[in-house]
Symmetry: C2
Subunit: 494 residues, 2 copies
């Protein structure tokens, strides 16, 4: 199947919109009309990992669930395009066993053996290329790690214990209230504090890495939020590499998302409808009425909204959302990541990695696999500090890839999803600007009448990660179940 989402450019075919994927559900609905099933126990809006988890848990618990999704596919901001059987991850990619919610699911679906390392630092052009204002340096991956580790340790070491005393319990972030102080600071503030202690390469490497995490600007990146990632990763650079960018699904992320959907469907309790963007959500007289842009209406006892933070203001809620929540939604998160896959006609680039900062449109890239044609698959990242809409200027995008390793980047194919222009995402994974988490996290998590809100954007642990999405879907399902118990009158399944 082909989704409307995503873009592909090839030397032969040029640019086209829509890419092949396992994540399109066919048929796009299993209901005959909006009132086919009468009232639902629960309506879940959004088929990303939050929505899939909530849907699955509630279906398993015997509730009659309707899943409403704007797109033609599941996965939200995490999905893979499988081209000639080879997966390109369009959004969320890497997972790790220190991410509790994602790992519980990988274990439960017995997918442990479906993971593989992204890196393979074993052969060919096996080095790290750092290009800054000051010129270009080539170094070993060990030297790359040392520079980044040294710089990161200076960056996070606000307490003489690498930030541990500031965020001792990363899943209970303000356990030490002093942590709030660091949410008033931007990454730029902190870089300035330590600037004199950093070598030029350390500074470029640090800024490049921080921007790889937030994909905003240094000014709009909360220093606390970065510390929170650091704490979750075990307070070490090696931990960051392991947890953030090392292990992915051999067959692509979408094989994982499909497990949730199929298990929910297997209960007989799942109704679903794709291609149905939501216009409004009305909570009236103990029922929630959802109206789509096509003016279909569905009614449920409860509704779980997994609409992302940056999209929330486009939906009409009645009664209106509280001002703190709406304020946070208008501020939004800052991640405008530009993630580009490039197929390079050079098999020897598999062990290469590079950073070009601050002048290049792609800041960081690594060899991520070998394609069926035997070429190297490179994945690169840019952000709002030097933004580009790739489909609007393919030539410039190609140049940004070429600039990372001049002479070694013969681009055969580009694959990407423009998350910034995606009306159902308006950005990539959540990353907080200063103040957002300390001011608004509690409000964002709060139930609003019969409407529950679940999204990785306001998870407590791995906020912005697939793990956080599953955390939130789990929470919403539990809250709804506890609120609606005793269970609804059972229905025959056979």
């Amino acid at each position: 199947m082909t989704s409307r989402d995503g873009f592909q450019w090839t030397k032969e075919g040029g640019l086209s919109q829509g890419v092949p994927t396992l994540s399109v559900i066919n048929p796009p609905t299993n209901i005959k009309s909006a009132t086919d099933q009468g009232d639902y126990d629960v309506i879940v809006v959004g088929g990303g990992y939050s929505g899939l988890t909530a849907t699955r848990d509630l279906c398993l618990a015997g509730f009659k669930v309707l899943l409403v999704e704007a797109r033609d596919r599941i996965g939200g901001r995490s999905w893979s395009s499988n081209i000639d059987g080879y997966p390109y991850e369009m959004g969320g990619t890497w997972v790790h066993w220190h991410q509790p919610h994602v790992w519980r699911e990988i274990s439960r679906y017995d997918l442990r053996k479906e993971l593989e390392p992204s890196f393979d630092f074993s052969r060919g052009v096996n080095h790290f290329q750092l290009r800054t204002n000051q010129g270009s340096t080539t170094m070993s991956h060990d030297e790359e790690d040392t520079i980044l580790r040294t710089a990161l340790e200076k960056f996070v070491n606000v307490d003489g214990d690498m930030g541990r005393t500031i965020i001792p319990f990363p899943h209970d972030e303000f356990y030490n209230p002093e942590a709030k102080k660091y949410d008033k600071m931007s990454a730029l503030d902190r870089v300035r504090d330590i600037a004199l202690t950093l070598s030029a390469n350390e500074r470029a490497s640090l800024e490049g890495f921080v921007l790889l995490c937030s994909c905003g600007t240094l000014e709009t990146t909360s220093f606390f939020e970065f510390l929170h990632w650091w704490a979750l990763c075990g307070y070490s650079q090696r931990g960051c590499m392991d947890c953030l960018i090392s292990y992915k699904f051999r067959g692509g992320q979408s094989i994982f998302a499909l497990r949730f959907f199929k298990e929910a469907a297997s209960t007989g309790n799942l109704s679903y409808i794709f291609n149905s963007p939501v216009k409004s959500i009305d909570d009236q007289s103990g029922k929630v009425i959802l109206t789509t842009r096509d003016d279909f209406q569905f009614t449920g006892s409860r509704l779980v909204s997994t609409i992302p933070l940056n999209v929330l203001e486009t939906i009409s809620f009645n009664p209106p959302l509280e001002s703190l929540r709406m304020g946070a939604a208008r501020t939004g998160h800052v991640n405008q990541c530009v993630k580009i896959h490039a197929e390079i006609s050079d098999k020897d680039m598999r062990s290469w990695a590079g950073m070009s900062y601050p002048l290049n449109k792609i800041t960081y890239a690594i060899g991520d696999g070998t394609t069926p044609a035997g070429n190297t698959h490179i994945v690169g990242f840019g952000g709002f500090h030097n933004h580009i809409h790739p489909e609007e200027d393919v030539k410039e995008t190609k140049k940004a890839v070429e600039n990372l390793a001049p002479g070694n980047m013969d681009v055969q194919r580009l694959v990407f999803h423009n998350w910034s222009k995606d009306e159902f995402a308006r950005g990539a994974w959540f990353f907080a600007p200063p103040g957002l988490v300390s001011n608004s996290l509690e409000s964002l998590r709060r139930r609003h009448g019969n409407v529950h809100f679940a999204n990785a954007d306001w998870a407590l642990g791995w906020r912005g990660f697939i793990d956080g999405a599953i955390e939130e879907g789990t929470r919403a399902a539990k809250d709804v179940k506890d609120g609606l118990k005793p269970p609804p009158a059972p229905r025959a399944h056979l």
Copy 2:
């Protein structure tokens, strides 16, 4: 309520069996007779975390479940005695957010804020006391960490990368088949390999720590299994401290176990009976018949046995268990931990820790809390290398506590559970002897007709931990559900 399990000794009252706990379920059954509910969909044997998780998941999924438990309480090898409102952990204690299954549940039950650190290295007698054949040394906790880190890094560094290349995916342990080689080695073999590089204090510290993990002898401790713990902890000494011994439930482990039980009960699908040791399990003509020692019989479509490895040979299975599984059960795991809580009439011992090895009956102990009386609560560990049955010789047990810090240990109270003499455990948490995991893990995990086996003893990840128990209960529930679907005919709950 008071359980039959556990012992308490006080200066005033002497020794008594049975301690107060939140984990006793009253009434001890909710069925009227063995045939009260007719046939069950699933019988779950054992109310530890494996059994509780399987029971809860299956009840939530709409199956009619009978939980059969030999003891008068839930929790299995993890439970707390709450004395005067203060919890003493009788078995499994510490949890960490890098343990995916346990953390998913802590998050789902919103218990994140119920954790507290065990250590408090801030005041009073704030040092580490190391007592060996060579004499006694007092040092700072930082120096303690340095000695152990240095020694551990020599111990695990078989590949020049701290064991990472041997176990790169700790939840897929033989991803690198070379790892099997290290399961042929004992901890003693490895100590001998590096003995010349270790100082006397490093060696004592290393051996004491390894024996704190296995509670066997160095000869009976698989070096691979230790490497596996190391990998799970993130390949660092600090990671080991964090994951293994740092964070516990403020109110005691049993508050956590109760959540599972209560949620299962809230579905209306749970029948349960305590005080009912199992005699035999017969899988005949598509049904499983369980017979208790009291000759009650219960029938289910499936049975989930969470009977621990060391107890398996005491139950009669028909058809008999395969020879590989029975061989492993007869070999058993090696952990014969002696865990002793001591209330010490000295509030200044809160920040103390000590090791006395190899001559003392308690090898390692730390300050773990302050009791309602304002005294220090010390928790200590011994093992099979220098074994004692505390209730059989309280005087010797007290002396072992006193020996750790002569002059500073005025013992007011002892609290403990003798896991070695417990017929339903026959040992503490699982730790593998050489060969057991590579030879038998697959067999131990296999379904046997309509009988599923779930226990932390053969978990893939945190084997022997609460996390592994939940991993296994989750797996069993999923397997049973998938096997029995479509779901059974629903029943009314209202």
